[in-house]
Symmetry: C2
Subunit: 227 residues, 2 copies
Amino acid sequence: MKITVLLSGGLDSSTCLALVVSKYGSENVEALSIHYGQKHDREVRSAQAVADYYGVKLTILDLSPVFAGSNCSLLNHSSEEIEHRSYAEQLKDLGGTGTVNTYVPFRNGLMLSAAAAVAQSNGSDEIWYGAHKDDAAGRAYPDCTPEFVDYMGKAIYEGTGHEIKLVAPFINSNKADIVRQGLAMKVPYELTWSCYEGGEKPCGTCGTCIDRFNAFKLNNAIDPLMK
Amino acid sequence: MKITVLLSGGLDSSTCLALVVSKYGSENVEALSIHYGQKHDREVRSAQAVADYYGVKLTILDLSPVFAGSNCSLLNHSSEEIEHRSYAEQLKDLGGTGTVNTYVPFRNGLMLSAAAAVAQSNGSDEIWYGAHKDDAAGRAYPDCTPEFVDYMGKAIYEGTGHEIKLVAPFINSNKADIVRQGLAMKVPYELTWSCYEGGEKPCGTCGTCIDRFNAFKLNNAIDPLMK
């Protein structure tokens, strides 16, 4: 069994990598990180640090030209500001459902497709990917919903000639569940990066910072990045 | 209504573009061509010529790094030779079903995902894509089967927050049907390119050359590239 893991360098995917390594051993795991033009490209450096920690080979691909025409706030060239509110508050403004302004057009579909190509090239049997329930809520990130993951998994299985399966171990978990599992596995969260602003320290007020802070709090723990 | 068309510069996708332009007008159409490291990258120049002919904006993306680890014979860096036999003969050797050696790992999945990202960025409602029955037969190209197109379409619809639909107008047609439609629409087939070898003239003996030759023959026509 060989696995290719999508590793952004954030909390979810780093925990996903830890889970795969604990199950299959680092010698059977490769990681893939994708630069897509994000403001917080320091997360790619975090991906390298986490991959190094687990002794896993990391491939980094630059697919940023695909998003040259998007004005999503998460992108370097965007004229939009990143929202500094929780996803729940952003969803309220959208009437309960709709994409938040940090949704990058079909980004996860592109990443999973690139992962499928890489996985089939390196002889993997499965792709693992850390999508979870909080990001899917209200279709804030429609490319994290169980429906998307289900169809994408079937498309990958069919499109690779029944060679590659997609596994999303946290699809029914929230971020607090993920942190609980990660703390038990001693994931080096001090090496990870989530904040969308990509500054020296996490801003603490963007959607992903708020989500991350709460996930640690619900586990009676403190995020090592906030110490 | 705005449409993004995947345009390789080959026969199928050029006919697909002609169909879309005839339905919606060139002002409502954009084309996307993807360089993926193919030996026959002259097809990208054909894509430009066809897009220019129809007065449609063409975006060209280079996603070749995704396939750096693949040894598929279609790729520039591959040590494998392209097969010079029909797909039917190649499938016989595979026991009737299996990927041919010009199948590029999940290439169409990656292209469609990139198209979804571009389409959502440029405000398109639909992506059109020229997959057809001959390529799907025996899962020679598993990323052309009706099952793949169905799941990929659903993944794109879900993953874009119900904004983008995938249309594959030739999914139940063979290449001869496509040429019949194309000849009726006077598609400039002299501008297109199919041969995998990418020489000065089509080799006439690779899988796609044989398929193309037969498609014209069945329409009592001669391929302008073979004149």
